[in-house]
Structure formats: C-alpha cells, structure tokens
Symmetry: C2
Subunit: 111 residues, 2 copies
C-alpha cells in the first residue's frame, strides 16, 4: 500500500494532519484503538456497523501504511489479527480525545 502525500502550501500543518487522519472512518478506528488498546478486525466491525468490511480494510491499510497503527497476524485457522496504535499513532491521542470531547458537547446541544 503506497500513500502519496500531495503538496501543502508552505507545508501547512493542518493539511498535513488531514492527509493522515482524513478518511471516513479513520478517526473512529483510532478512537476505538485508544479505548481498547488492541482490537481484532471483527471487533472493529462490531463497533462500526456503518462501515463495510471492505472500507474497514481499506482504512486500516492506509493507517498502517502511514505508520499510525500496526497489525499482528496470528497464523491460525480461522485467521486472527490484532491492530494497535504505533508510537506515532499514540501521539494522536490528544487530537482524537479533543474530537470526542467536542462531539459530546455538540450532541448535547443537538438533543
């Protein structure tokens, strides 16, 4: 999985961040990995019923390519994999936490 990084104006930091975390489900995946430390593919699926298996795999692949999460595969049948944050991924915790906090506040005022 190759990820191309398009140029940002003056290397705008906000745009850099967006390149890593934008994607329909990435922040939710990260939120789950922060909360549960380690998750199997099927667990993530359960937490995100709106996200298809295909999409989940795509987003996980991109996050892995960007070195935000790491995957551990157990060569067993049926298959078993575990996803967790890398060291770099952990630096995103304050950001995702902030997102969660804002969303809670927003949900309150919107019933």
């Amino acid at each position: 999985m190759e990820r191309k990084i398009h140029d940002c104006m003056d290397g705008c930091p906000v745009e850099s961040t967006l390149q890593i975390i934008s994607g329909k489900w990435k922040c939710v995946i990260l939120y789950r990995l922060i909360k549960h430390k380690v998750c199997r593919f099927s667990e993530l699926q359960r937490y995100m019923p709106g996200c298809s298996r295909r999409m989940l795999a795509l987003q996980l692949n991109e996050l892995e390519a960007d070195n935000i999460i790491s995957k551990k595969v157990y060569p067993v049948i049926p298959p078993k994999t575990e996803y967790s944050l890398t060291e770099l991924g952990e630096t995103l915790i304050p950001l995702i936490t902030e997102m969660n906090k804002w969303g809670e506040m927003y949900n309150q005022i919107h019933r």
Copy 2:
C-alpha cells in the same frame, strides 16, 4: 443549503465531529479564521491556492449551514463579504489548534 446528518452508532461523538469538520478544506478554513478572526473570500483564496473558487464557496456554505461560521455581505461594487467564526465555531479552536500542533510535529519528522 441543507445539511443532512446521518445516524451514528449510539451517537458516537467522534462521528458527530466528523460530520461537521470533514471536508477537504474545512479545517484549513477554520484555521485561517482562528488566526485572522475575519477574512474576505479572496483572502481565503490566497491562503489556500490548492482550493478552487467553487470548492471554497461550497465548504463555506456548509460551514455556514452548520452554524460554524457567519458571513457578512456588504452591498457594494465590487462585492465584499467577510467570514468569521460563530460562537459555536469558536468552540472548535482547541481541536483545530491540536491539529495544527500535531501537523507541525509530523512535518518535523518528515523532513
């Protein structure tokens, strides 16, 4: 401009936040409005050369529909408009600031 909010699992706060700020340029726009308080359309264009006039207008419209920014139109020729954060928009400052911070850190390790 109508904005439909799709259902999130258990009203997941992270997904709520994403519904408001996801969009190719929204965070960058917000970052600019935080930094400069008030911006004209053409100023924003200059700050975001990668964003077309059409895209900029679309993103601004959505942010306005979600009550994150407000627009003041001066009925003059040539036209003049000013965008700024609403009260709700200002509550996003910590989040956008966090994004900026993370991006700066990330840019440093990536040359």
